[in-house]
Symmetry: C2
Subunit: 303 residues, 2 copies
């Protein structure tokens, strides 16, 4: 199907899908933690960041993958939400004074600016833990698959994934770094969780191993492209467009592609990554216009 439709149509469809399903994810997230539960302050802080906006890219990628292989989107929703809940924890902890010391996120004051450091720290811990509660609740699929989803998420998010990348990112801030370091950081800090979003959707739908392998490659490349665009937007975007402080990478002396190879070369590398991701799908004979469109959208996005 992809080959029969012009690229801008595919991208527009993906954009609409992202908007619609993103709203559904937000609706689902809004129902998770009733503010009346004790301790109210903790749930308020969790809800604050969870409902502060955001593109919902990770959960929607999970939904899009599962739907592309015949799964019921409503049934996948808790697993998809787990990815956003986990992403949200990482933003809260990254913004803390001990790490990036950021005041703004998604156009609003950061969690610790509103609730204080202790509550923000705990809200992050609680969200991280809750992601695994979401993945382990009854989802109507075989337990083996759910356990595999837990395995994929914990691996992608922990010391061998996102947290490991975040650690190297901080170390590179202080001491600079090579292209090799940058690739390690992007892969671990960002791409592995985006890859996990795709893989978890695929595991939910029960795809066979060769299809999963192709989706792993797609997810990784799309994740790398996403981070390159993020770095580009930090240079070229405004604080208003981004909803977070523009130029903060430079302020923190972050190791980024634009800083290392320049804006134009970063754009080229980004397109290359997306093309490699789409080739992985094509080579495995996967026709998934939604996934193709999501990849295109990620390169074209403005915030």
């Amino acid at each position: 199907m992809t080959s029969l439709q012009p690229l801008d149509v595919v991208e527009a469809q993906a954009r609409r899908y992202l908007e619609e399903r993103g709203r559904r994810v937000t609706e689902y997230l809004a129902g998770l933690f009733p503010a009346s539960e004790r301790p109210g302050r903790l749930f308020a802080a969790m809800n604050y960041s969870l409902l502060a906006g955001g593109k919902r890219l990770r959960p929607v990628l999970c939904l899009a993958t599962a739907a592309s292989f015949g799964a019921d989107e409503e049934a996948v929703l808790p697993a998809a939400a787990a990815l956003e809940v986990l992403h949200c924890y990482s933003l809260i902890h990254d913004d803390l004074p001990a790490i990036d010391n950021d005041d703004m996120r998604r156009g609003k004051p950061t969690n610790h600016k509103v609730f204080g450091e202790a509550t923000a720290l705990l809200a992050g811990d609680a969200l991280l833990t809750y992601a695994f509660e979401l993945l382990s609740q009854p989802l109507g699929i075989p337990a083996e698959r759910q356990l595999e989803m837990v395995r994929v998420l914990s691996r992608a998010a922990g010391c061998y994934g996102m947290v490991g990348g975040q650690m190297e990112d901080i170390l590179a801030e202080r001491s600079g770094g090579s292209l090799d370091d940058l690739q390690f950081i992007h892969t671990h800090k960002t791409a592995k969780l985006i890859q996990a979003s795709v893989v978890i959707g695929a595991v939910f739908a029960g795809v066979p191993a060769p299809v999963r392998a192709a989706l792993e490659r797609y997810g990784l490349e799309v994740g790398l492209a996403f981070q390159m665009v993020d770095d580009l937007l930090d240079v070229t975007g405004t604080t208003e467009e981004l909803g977070k402080t523009a130029g903060s990478d430079e302020r923190l002396q972050k190791l980024t592609y634009p800083a290392l190879v320049g804006v134009e070369e970063t754009r080229r590398l980004c397109h290359e990554a997306v093309e490699r991701g789409l080739s992985a799908l094509a080579e495995a004979g996967i026709e998934a216009p939604l996934l193709a469109g999501m990849a295109r959208f990620i390169v074209a996005r403005r915030h």
Copy 2:
């Protein structure tokens, strides 16, 4: 069997079991994160706290429960280790300046004193995440049981468990609190994870529902008793005996049983909790001298 042996024999057996299996747990934990992996600084910080000593009470309770119902202790080890890994994360985050601002833990400088706040925060995040990686790796039991273990741990550790209790603990520091608040805090902050240690051992061994229900009651009461002893030791122990700063509850104006009802009444409540825990086992016809001994040991401990 319990009824045929004098109490001090049962307790001495439990003490020996705790020492021996505690060493085995430490050995297992020492093999988890090779320092040569990247990022080395993160793994060094994780290993520092993981291998800084500690009684290994939670993993050993898990092993003791599983063994009491016929499971192979070596096979349970990764699940048992998950409980210590998770406990260890909570200590690192609790010690951070934003929360308790403690300099000493288990007789050594706290994680952030050695590695700095950013690394300590990430080491905690990584350990929390890794607990779920341990529970989801192949363990030679049905996936249903492992998924249930993930469910039990995430529920006990997150906003409805330990993190929720920690939040209320902080709020009570600032504004005081009632006996009701104290019970909420002890139950959530401490008892639920100790209960989960027992329940995870039981789920691993595949015990039937009524046995699990009795073990849930036992685990909760033992957990409550454990926290009361902890509060008592903070008043009566020395920094050297405890390996952490004695009297810190008073310094932080923590809400504790000794502060609220006095030392003697706390001792009485503690013994009552243990007796209720043992009655739960007896009423279900469970003969588990190890679990009885562990409960006795928890009341008698000096650090």
